[in-house]
Symmetry: C3
Amino acid sequence: VAPCGIVTLLTDFGAKDPFVGVMKGVILSRFPAARIVDLTHGIEPQDVAEAGFWLESSHVWFPRGSVHLAVVDPGVGTARAAIAVAADGHYFVAPDNGLLTPLVGRARDAAVRTIDLERLQVGTPSRTFHGRDVLAPAAADLASGRVGFAALGPRAQPSASPFVPVPSVSGQRVEGVVVAVDRFGNLITNVDETLLREVRSPLVYAGEMECPVVLTYMDASPGEYVALVNSSGRLEVARCLGNAAAGLGLGKGSTVRVVSREAGE
Amino acid sequence: VAPCGIVTLLTDFGAKDPFVGVMKGVILSRFPAARIVDLTHGIEPQDVAEAGFWLESSHVWFPRGSVHLAVVDPGVGTARAAIAVAADGHYFVAPDNGLLTPLVGRARDAAVRTIDLERLQVGTPSRTFHGRDVLAPAAADLASGRVGFAALGPRAQPSASPFVPVPSVSGQRVEGVVVAVDRFGNLITNVDETLLREVRSPLVYAGEMECPVVLTYMDASPGEYVALVNSSGRLEVARCLGNAAAGLGLGKGSTVRVVSREAGE
Amino acid sequence: VAPCGIVTLLTDFGAKDPFVGVMKGVILSRFPAARIVDLTHGIEPQDVAEAGFWLESSHVWFPRGSVHLAVVDPGVGTARAAIAVAADGHYFVAPDNGLLTPLVGRARDAAVRTIDLERLQVGTPSRTFHGRDVLAPAAADLASGRVGFAALGPRAQPSASPFVPVPSVSGQRVEGVVVAVDRFGNLITNVDETLLREVRSPLVYAGEMECPVVLTYMDASPGEYVALVNSSGRLEVARCLGNAAAGLGLGKGSTVRVVSREAGE
C-alpha cells in the first residue's frame, strides 16, 4: 500500500510538556507535507497494553496508507529494538515491547521489520527520548515514501512482553485481564474472539459477577451485566445502560474468566 | 458560501481516549485535504448549553466557509435527528438537541436541514457514536463540497431542548441562568441582548448582588460587579479586575435576573 | 531565512476553553495555508520563565523558517509591547515581558523588532486577548511572508522582566532558581552554561544537597544527585535513574547555588 501522507500519534506523554510538539517538529523537518493527527496522548504512563488496545481499535478509521506512531516506552534506553509493522493496509512504528504484538496476531496479513538506525540515517539517539530520535524519523520517512517498508531493516517477529499480559488457557477455561476501560465504563479484555470461540457454551465471570455472552449492548435488561465481542474482536464486559467498571468496582488489571457451562462450573 | 476546507471540532470527549482522533480519521478518509482544527474538547460532559455558547462565540474568528462540527450528545442512540445549519457564511453540524438553537435565533440569516442518512451514504450508524458514524461524515462531505448544503436533507427547524435553558420573561422582568464561565471568571448567561433591551433602565441581579449595566469591563471601580453585553451579544456579569464567579460563589446554572429600576424593585 | 509556513503555539491557556482554537482561526483567516502545530498549552498560568525555557529547548526541532508564537501574558492590557525576534533561522512572536529574553541572550545571531499595530493593519485590540488580536495576526503575516521581519516595526531590545528571574553573580558564586521541572523530575535552572564556566571547579547545591558536575545523566551511581549542562545549555539538577524533584522536595522557584571548590566552601 502506498503511504497516504497521514501520521497519527499515540503516546503517554500527556499535555503538560512540549514533547509531543517536538516529535511533530521532527516529523515536519523530514517530511514537510505530513498531515499529523493526534490519536491520544492520554494513555496511562507506561501502560503498553492499553496503548496497544486503543491503537488497534482506532487505526481502522484512518485511510489506508496511514502511518501510526505509538510511543509508550518503559524500556527506553535499554537494548529493546524499534520495529515497524505493515498490516492490512496500515503502517505502525513503535518500540518492540509488546505494544504491536496483539495487533500483529490479529491481522489478516502482517509483516514486521526491525528498524535499522544506520539505514535511517539518524545520529546516535539520546538515551531518554527515542520517540523523537528514532521513531518519529522512521515514521516520517515511511510516510513520505523516502524509505520503503522493506528497506527499514531486517525481518523480525514482535516480542512477547512483560508489559502486555497474555491470557492463560487451560482446557475449556480462559483467564484474561482488563487492559482498557472506555468512557462508558466498558471493561475491555485481552481475550481474543478466537479464544472465546474455543470454549463451548461460554459463560464469563468479571470478578464474581456471572455475565451471559450476548451479541449487542442492548441484548439485556437495564442494569444487567453482559459479555460480548466488541468491534475490535475483544471480549468486553458491559452493563446495559450503565457503567460496568463503576458498578462492579473493577478496572485495568482485573481478572475476567471464561468457563464452559458444560464443564459444570 | 463555498466551503473553504476547514473543519472545526467541539466536543465533550476530553483528552483521555482516542475518540476525537477517530473522528478526524473518518473526516480525512472522506476528505483527504480537510484542514481540521480543534476548538475545544473540554466542554463539561453533556453540557449542551455550554457547547452552544462557546461555538457561537468562537466560530466568527474562522474564515467564511468553515464547517463547525459539534458533538455534545446526551441523546445519542435515541430518535433525535442530526441537523446542519448554514448561518452568516458558516456551516454547522450537530445533534438536534438545542446546541445550535440560540445560534440560529441570533443569526442574521440561517437555514436548517435535517441530515438524511440515506443521502449521506453512510451505513447503519452505531448506537453510541454518531459523532463518528453520522456527524463527521456529514461535516466532511459538506467541507469537501461533495454534498451541497441543500442536498443534506429536508428543511427543518432546530428543536427546543430540555438541555438548553430558556430565559423566562414576565413584563419588565427577565430571569436567565449562567451557561458558561470563562477563564476570567465572567458569568455568561442565556439572556440575549434583545431581551435586555426590552427592559427600561435595567438593573441586573447575580444571586443577591446588584450589578449596574455598563458598556465595558473597565466602566467600574476595581472589585465592583457589573453587567454588560459581551462580544457574543449575551448578558454577562463580570468583576472589574477580578473574578466574578469566585467572588460571588456563582457558576453554571446560577440565576441572573434583570429588573427595571422604574418598576420600583 | 524564508518562512516555511509552520506556526507553532505555546500558551498557558490549557484545554478547557476554545481560546487556542480561536487563535488558530485568526491565523487561518490571514494565512489559509498555515501549518499550525501545538507546542504545549500546559504552561502554568502566567509562568513566563517556564514558557521561555520550553520554547527555547523545543524550537530547535522544527524546520528553519518556522514562526513560534508564545502567549503567556500577565501584563495583557497594559502598555507592554509585543515583539518579534529573528534568531538562528527561526522567528518568534511574544509579549515583551521577558519570555524571549533568555533566548535572545543565548542566540548566536538575534534581531528584535517591536510590533507596530498600525503596520499590522489590525483594528484596536481588545484589552484582554492580545494573543488573538495582535500576536496571532503578526505570526500569520510573518509566516505567510505578507510582512517581512524588518517591516513589523522598529528595532528594539527585549525587556528585562519581573516575571523572569535573573541569576545573581558574586565573584565565584552564582545563585539561580529552578524555572521548569520536566517529566523526569529534572530541575532546570536559569543558570546558563557560560555562567557556570566562569566558576573554577564548580560544585552545585540544590537546596542542601551537594551535586557534582558531570557530563551525562549516567555519570553517577543510581540514586545519586548530579548537576549537568542540558541540551539547551542550562544548568540542570538530575538524579541518576530517579526523580530529582521528588527526591529533594524541590520545584519551580527553588534556589540552586554554584560555588567553587577552591573557595573553600
